[in-house]
């Protein structure tokens, strides 16, 4: 009786380890250009998916990059829909309670996008409507700062929706990662007459120390491999190559 069980057990073990080495599933925001964007063929493209592919190459693993709306991305990670999240997610103390983070893979300030020439100071916020991404750090920061100054928040599921409403004058500003506002809106035909305005927002209390790759809490093995791979792609130049593809400036930060 015991032997067949043992054999079965060994077989199962072999299968699971084989499966483990095969494919890593990364989730990224479904629509957060230039960091992520779903192509017409359903494939994810952008900075985040490219970094994921580079990391997997360094880890010698197969990579699958899946789209997921940002507001459900942590619960879905914890529900094991995928193994890691690479979605421009800032490393914050609050999120650390729910997931473990890798070292940062880039660090960039958040900015307001508004009509060119808007003079942003504390008085400006009174009565203004500001679009934010639901459950983003920008939303959290805005709720605790801009709302106190008299602004009203409008929450969106996807960043491009807030740009559409900004163009349609439904909101007065969108509060996003500087690179997203710049590349996906201000520099496009839609963003004519709009600019990044106001200061850089990067208070570490809210915005953390940059964006990291999230894994389920306690998944130390995968985290160590990702951190190792991150060092490797920083060193061998593949990170820079991907960065140059999307940005004309350095987004890794200090």
């Amino acid at each position: 009786m015991k032997k067949p069980l043992l054999v079965l057990g060994a077989l199962a073990l072999a299968l699971t380890t084989a499966a483990h080495a095969e494919t890593l599933r990364f989730a990224t925001d479904a629509s957060y250009p230039p960091f992520s964007k779903q192509g017409a063929d359903g494939k994810m493209t952008g900075f985040d998916p490219d970094i994921a592919q580079a990391l997997c190459a360094a880890m010698k693993a197969q990579c699958e990059v899946l789209p997921q709306d940002f507001d459900g991305i942590i619960p879905a990670l914890n529900a094991k829909k995928f193994d890691a999240v690479i979605a421009s997610m800032n490393i914050t103390e609050e999120r650390k309670k729910a997931v473990d983070f890798s070292d940062k893979y880039y660090n960039m300030a958040s900015r307001l996008v508004a009509r060119e020439g808007s003079q942003v100071n504390d008085a400006w916020f009174k009565g203004k409507k500001i679009g934010v991404l639901r459950s983003s750090i920008q939303e959290k920061y805005a709720r605790e700062h801009f709302v106190k100054l008299g602004a009203k928040l409008v929450s969106y599921g996807k960043a491009p929706e807030s740009f559409l409403d900004l163009k349609a004058a439904r909101v007065d500003a969108a509060f996003v990662d500087a690179a997203v506002g710049d590349v996906d809106f201000v520099k496009t035909a839609n963003g004519k007459g709009f600019a990044l305005v106001g200061p850089d927002y990067n208070d570490p209390k809210y915005f953390g120390v940059g964006s990291g790759i999230a894994v389920r809490k306690g998944d130390k093995a995968l985290l160590a491999r990702i951190n190792q791979a991150l060092k490797q792609i920083r060193a061998d130049g593949s990170y820079d190559k991907i960065q140059k593809k999307y940005f004309s400036f350095d987004i890794y930060g200090k």
């Binding site: 507001d71 459900g72 942590i74 619960p75 639901r134 459950s135 929450s155 409403d165 439904r170």
Partner: protein, 243 residues
């Protein structure tokens, strides 16, 4: 397993506080859901009665126009209709320059417009069907009394059709209540929108969604009960005899 403390703590958010109220509305959460529902049902019903009369009229043009309208709105998903009204219309400069933009710029007004047009289409067909089902005896009697066409419509056909439409209309009300949840996709924090917010703040999927599910169940129960009462009052003559 289920964190009841969290549910209790977040309950006021579901009921709706003036804090997150969208423009033009008084509140979010449950209050917003009920506002959206009742306003769109009321406007939809008001539209549906004349539209149903046009639908059954002998005038080919009027009848086919209404047919086209109900076909389009019953043949496409409500979510698509809402997106076309909210994101689509705002792309045209002439819409943004018109008087209507004052309303169309607000997600709240767009949602009510979409819901109204949608429920009016279904209700039109429900009422038109019951008008066609009117017993010929009632019509003959009205004619024998010498009633004009409009008097007959007003006194006999419409009241009778509306009564008989009650059971089908109660379904429409319950379906519409569930449909209001798509409002969350155009930035409105209705019941479902609040649940999504709590979900993404706490990373807990079960508690907020089970809580809103209970809200909707209770509402459905309330509506079904109200319609039962209404049917007992206005459809008594169609009920099986008890003695």
């Amino acid at each position: 397993m289920i964190d009841f403390n969290m549910i209790v703590e977040k309950l006021p958010a579901f009921l709706g506080g003036a804090d997150g109220a969208p423009m033009m509305s008084t509140s979010d959460g449950l209050q917003l859901t009920l506002e959206l529902l009742f306003l769109s049902l009321a406007c939809g019903l008001l539209l549906a009665v004349p539209l149903a009369l046009m639908r059954v009229s002998k005038n080919r043009v009027a009848s086919s126009l209404v047919w086209l309208y109900t076909y389009v709105f019953r043949g496409t998903p409500l979510l698509v209709q809402l997106f076309i009204i909210y994101y689509g219309l705002s792309q045209f400069d002439w819409v943004r320059d018109s008087w209507a933009w004052e309303y169309l710029r607000e997600a709240y007004a767009c949602a009510i417009l979409a819901f109204t047009l949608n429920t009016a289409a279904y209700t039109t067909e429900i009422i038109a069907g019951q008008i066609r089902n009117t017993h010929y005896g009632e019509i003959e009697a009205a004619k024998a009394m010498g009633m004009s066409k409009w008097l007959m419509m007003r006194r006999i056909v419409i009241p009778s059709a509306l009564r008989r439409a009650l059971p089908a209309y109660s379904n429409e009300v319950v379906m519409m209540m569930q449909s209001t949840s798509v409002a969350g996709l155009v930035t409105l924090a209705d019941l479902t929108g609040v649940a999504r917010r709590v979900f993404s703040d706490t990373y807990m999927p079960f508690e907020p969604f089970i809580t809103v599910a209970c809200f909707y169940l209770v509402l459905t129960f309330g509506f079904v009960w109200l319609f039962k009462l209404a049917e007992r009052r206005w459809l008594a003559y169609l009920a099986p005899r008890k003695h």
